[in-house]
Amino acid sequence: MADWVAACDEGEVDEEDVIRFDHEGRTFAIYRSPDDEYFATDGLCTHEHVHLADGLVMDDIIECPKHNGRFNYKTGQAKGAPACINLRTYPAKVEGGKIMIRID
């Protein structure tokens, strides 16, 4: 069953940046794009267990803080070595000043 969960407040994430959100033993990354839209993915890089929230967001890309594995955080697509496995994405929306993500 999929549930909408409040991940953080609007404005808690800087523009073109990412924060970490932990929920019920899982960890997610919440992004705010340069054009002010919100996105959510799994929190850990698919190459190694590293929190993506420590990485750099440039345009549509999140870069792993350790090995520069790159993903499109809007689609989850891995953009090349060493990251070869796509990142799982989750729907996100703004509601009542909160960033909500749908977790299944």
């Binding site: 190694e48 420590d54 990485g55 750099l56 803080p65 350790k66 090995h67 520069n68 070595a81 060493p82």
Partner: protein, 412 residues
């Protein structure tokens, strides 16, 4: 086995494997042969001194290309194979078993070997760490209470010291220089790492030289030149690495602190390239200063670059040197070469995180060194790396202020 000349890569580590994959990604459809000395599939070395030590007692290697992917990519991986000679006239690599592999282009990605301490060459309790098998052997030794002496306060030694402490081993680190990490790490940051080791109970002695390591009934004794002796069960010799240049030297290729290549990673033979830990190359960023880098990302980037240039891309190396080390909960990252700096600007980020920006005499940002819990400095070091690549001269006050976003400096 291919009889038509193809791309031959000597060395099946991160660099060679990356090169082989890149050749295919770039559309090359001739034979690709990857020659490796080790019995394993290409694997990542960074975990060997870190996670691999702390995980299960029977760890697996983290594979770069598995069997299936090698097959699909049509890469012929020759494990347990030693390249004995290069016949440059005929353009053949000659393996130790006599097999001749014709090449169109050859890449030497032979890596490094640990520097040996001649005095302990045959002592089985004095180990080095480079390969997965080395790491497995060390892992089986490191049980709670086993006394470890680390000879050399470099990255391999310190990472292993941190892992061994976490496994409950008494650890002593011996460094000949006045401080740890003399090569490439600023003193202040080395001091933070030193203090963290001390806090975790590592006995760290700098400025000491080893006279001999001898067997005792209970283990080994490390005798110092000043007369002191340290009892231990096992010694890790971590005194640096030497590039694997023998094959290149025998083939008459230029060697200068590694196999000498130009900005295209080409040796003085246009059909032969070298990349990764084994080569020295001119770093455009610092006026063509010739360097040799022993780092995971460099191995990867140069492997890919060499592959493109083997296919005729003529693309010059332009990357900023970058590496990291993890010890306990501390993450260190350095972009650029700090010794290029003449002035340091310090940014205190709170929570024990710190970045030093290294500026050249003209104010240009040439390197940045960061340390902090986990990956706290990663984002800013990555931004600093981009500023370094752009040869930017950011205002000192902005670099020093933790609230000033480095990303805004990129736009400037």
């Amino acid at each position: 086995m291919a009889s038509e000349p193809g791309m031959v890569i000597v060395g099946a580590g991160e660099c060679g494997a990356r090169a082989a994959l890149t050749l295919r990604e770039e559309g090359y459809d001739g034979p690709v042969t990857l020659i490796g000395r080790e019995p394993h599939l290409p694997y990542e070395r960074p975990p060997l001194s870190k996670d691999l030590m702390l995980g299960t007692e029977h760890p697996a290697a983290r594979i770069v290309i598995d069997e299936d992917r090698l097959k699909k990519a049509g890469i012929d991986h020759l494990a347990r194979s030693e390249a004995a000679a290069i016949d440059r006239q005929a353009r053949h690599v000659v393996l130790e078993n006599g097999l001749r592999l014709p090449y169109e282009k050859l890449l030497l990605a032979t890596g490094c070997q640990p520097r040996r301490l001649p005095a302990v060459a045959n002592n089985s309790r004095c180990v080095t760490l480079r390969t997965f098998d080395d790491a497995l052997a060390i892992r089986t030794h490191l049980h709670r209470g086993v006394r470890l002496v680390v000879v050399g306060g470099g990255f391999i030694g310190l990472e292993l010291a941190a892992a061994a402490r976490q496994l409950g081993c008494p650890v002593t680190v011996l460094e000949a220089q006045p401080r740890i990490l003399m090569r490439g790490v600023p003193e202040e940051i080395a001091g933070i790492i030193d203090a963290r080791h001390a806090a975790h109970g590592v006995h760290l002695h700098c400025g000491v030289s080893i006279e001999a390591i001898t067997d005792t009934p209970a283990g080994i004794a490390v005798e110092l030149k000043d007369g002191a002796a340290i009892e231990a069960d096992i010694a890790l010799i971590g005194i640096g690495a030497v590039p694997e240049t023998a094959l290149a030297e025998r083939a008459g290729l230029a060697v200068e602190n590694g196999i000498a290549v130009d900005a295209f990673l080409q040796t003085d033979d246009p059909a032969v390239f070298a990349a990764g830990d084994c080569c020295s190359f001119p770093l455009a960023l610092y006026g063509g200063r010739r360097v040799r880098l022993e780092a995971w990302r460099n191995a990867q980037e140069q492997g890919a670059l060499a592959a493109r240039n083997m296919l005729g891309a003529k693309e010059a190396h332009a990357a900023v040197p970058w590496f990291w080390s993890d010890q306990y909960d501390l993450g260190l990252q350095i972009a650029g070469l700090p010794d290029e700096g003449r002035e340091t600007v310090r940014r205190d980020m709170g929570n024990g995180a710190l970045i030093l920006f290294h500026l050249a005499a003209d104010g240009r940002l040439v390197a940045a060194s960061g340390i902090g819990p986990g990956n706290t400095v990663a984002k800013d070091i990555r931004l600093a790396e981009m500023l370094i690549a752009r040869r930017a001269s950011p205002p000192r006050d902005r670099l020093a202020a933790p609230e000033a976003k480095l990303k805004t400096l990129l736009a400037a």
